[in-house]
């Protein structure tokens, strides 16, 4: 099937198994999310062909790379993919320029769609070209590794926790580049991560893996709003809304983000009006009221309807899915409060949002 990625793998190691059947969109960022040991890296390696999962099937935008039922397994070096490992893994004996050229020179000239210059510019590494890898910081190395993968004009880009080995500062340094890739690339990107904030920032499609199995797969905001998942995401449960900056309040240093279903005031982070942004709202930061309190410090209060209710991990807590004029929110409140307010599906309430994070 064209325009999408289909991957079916069954790997059984001693004490570990991976059993997935994934259908991913043929463009945008798909995040494979899960705890360590959930099989997300094995899944990515199987897609790359670094791991041969017998009996598997893999097609990428219409091209079959693995179909063991007819003995087809395209070796890694013949697959037009880009792979970014957790550690940058630059070749230590080659300069940055030669590292970048290594893959590009092995791609036939008529298949090169990404110029070296474009890859260098996208990742902002022009000043590093004549240095050797051991003279670079961790963040710089990882940017080079991403550019090196891009320079092969891949049909798909695979990233295995590219930020996990970096400290917070380096992460912040790379994330904007990843967002740029997300906005500018026409090819699908599969991104393995165990960090909810990275997923919230980058992903369009979310796959949640647990113990080698897919427990959810779907568009990001839809999947995050599912009530059976927050239980597994714990403290990080929350939703992501997409919108754009509609208005700036210079006096109070606030910006209004408008999305389908309403708008929210967030701290002004210097982005211009019209800029497309994502906001992330954690379930623990939403409380529910029956009246719109004007006498509270809470800035963002949205009218909403209760759509669904579910138990949380702790018996004192409940999860409430709200529909704010089309936008789905998830609130984590105590069950006593839910009972006191008489919450049930269909009930009109006010969602009081204590914190909204602009995630890019």
């Amino acid at each position: 099937m064209s325009g999408s990625i289909h991957a079916r793998f069954r790997v059984v190691h001693d004490g570990f198994q991976l059993d997935v059947d994934l259908q991913l969109p043929g463009r945008g960022v798909s995040a494979l999310f899960g705890a360590s040991g959930s099989g997300k890296t094995t899944c990515l390696r199987a897609i790359a062909g670094l791991e041969h999962a017998p009996g598997g099937h893999l097609s990428v935008n219409g091209e079959v790379w693995q179909d063991d039922s007819r003995g087809l397994f395209v070796p890694v070096h013949q697959r037009p993919l880009g792979y970014v490992f957790q550690e940058a893994s630059l070749f230590p004996h080659l300069s940055i320029r030669r590292n970048l050229e290594y893959g590009m020179r092995r791609v036939p000239a008529d298949e090169r769609r990404v110029s070296l210059q474009h890859a260098v510019d996208l990742l902002g590494i022009a000043p590093l070209l004549d240095r050797m890898p051991d003279k670079l910081s961790g963040g710089e190395k990882q940017r080079v590794a991403i550019a090196r993968a891009l320079a092969t004009s891949p049909r798909i880009l695979l990233m295995d926790e590219p930020l996990a080995a970096l400290d917070l500062k380096r992460k912040q340094e790379i994330l904007p580049y990843l967002e740029r890739l997300h906005d500018e690339l026409e090819i699908p990107l599969i991104y393995v991560s165990h960090a909810p904030d990275e997923v919230a920032r980058l992903a369009d499609h979310l796959v949640v893996l647990e113990q080698g199995r897919t427990i959810a797969s779907g568009p990001l905001s839809e999947t995050l709003a599912r009530l059976d998942l927050p239980i597994r995401l714990g403290e990080d449960a929350g939703v992501v809304l997409e919108g754009e900056i509609a208005e700036l309040d210079a006096d109070w240093h606030l910006a209004r983000v408008a999305f389908a279903g309403g708008s929210l005031w967030v701290r002004d982070s210097g982005l211009p009006v019209g800029r497309h942004v994502r906001v992330r709202i954690l379930a623990r930061d939403i409380s529910i009221a029956l009246e719109p309190h004007a006498d509270s410090s809470i800035l963002n209060v949205l009218p909403a309807t209760v759509e669904e209710m579910a138990d949380d991990t702790h018996p004192a807590l409940a999860l409430v899915k709200l529909n704010a004029d089309g936008a789905r929110l998830v609130a984590r409140i105590t069950r006593r409060s839910a009972a006191r307010l008489g919450l049930r599906p269909g009930r009109a309430v006010w969602a009081q949002i204590k914190a909204v994070a602009l995630v890019g």
Binding site: Y83, F91, Y102, V107
Partner: protein, 224 residues
Amino acid sequence: MLTDTALSAIWLTLRLATVTTLLLFLIGTPIAWWLARTRCWLKAPVGAMVALPLVLPPTVIGFYLLVVMGPQGSIGQLTQALGLGVLPFTFWGLVVGSVLYSMPFVVQPLQNAFDAIGERPLEVAATLRAGPLDTFFTVVLPLARPGFITAGILGFAHTVGEFGVVLMIGGNIPDKTRVVSVQIYDHVEALEYAQAHWLSAGMLAFSFVVLLLLYVFNPNGRQR
């Protein structure tokens, strides 16, 4: 000073060591690569075979080579059938003996160097479209360079220093099998201590310089 016989012994020794080292690179590299990468059960037995010359008396190796390469031996029969004659007491017989005798000194540093590279650079190369051979020449060889330097120096020096194997399968034929170590033995037998001194001191200086180079180029020890 050095006599003509001494010079010819030195020349022969250098020729033997050079040919042996080159052959060992050709033979030892695939063996070391296989030993570094395989999970086959044969890894341990093959590793032990390669290391045997480290512990065996050279006379034992020489003796068995003499037997198998001799006119009645299996290899001897083969070389005769190929029209090569028999190898003992020829230069090429010495080469065969030296290759076996110096094998661990080349294979082990190479194997360590390949081990140290690990899986990752090979995987990276594959995702950058390099096939296995391409990867070997453009990634593995450059990264294992210190290992090759160590292997070359040790293989060469060890061949220069061998005596027992040469004596067993080469004998003592001027210009053909009489290498420096055998020549020194001859001089001492004949009580020509002055000549023995010249050659011995030369060997001493040579060995020291070789090891010095090794430690200068690979300061982290010879296992790199």
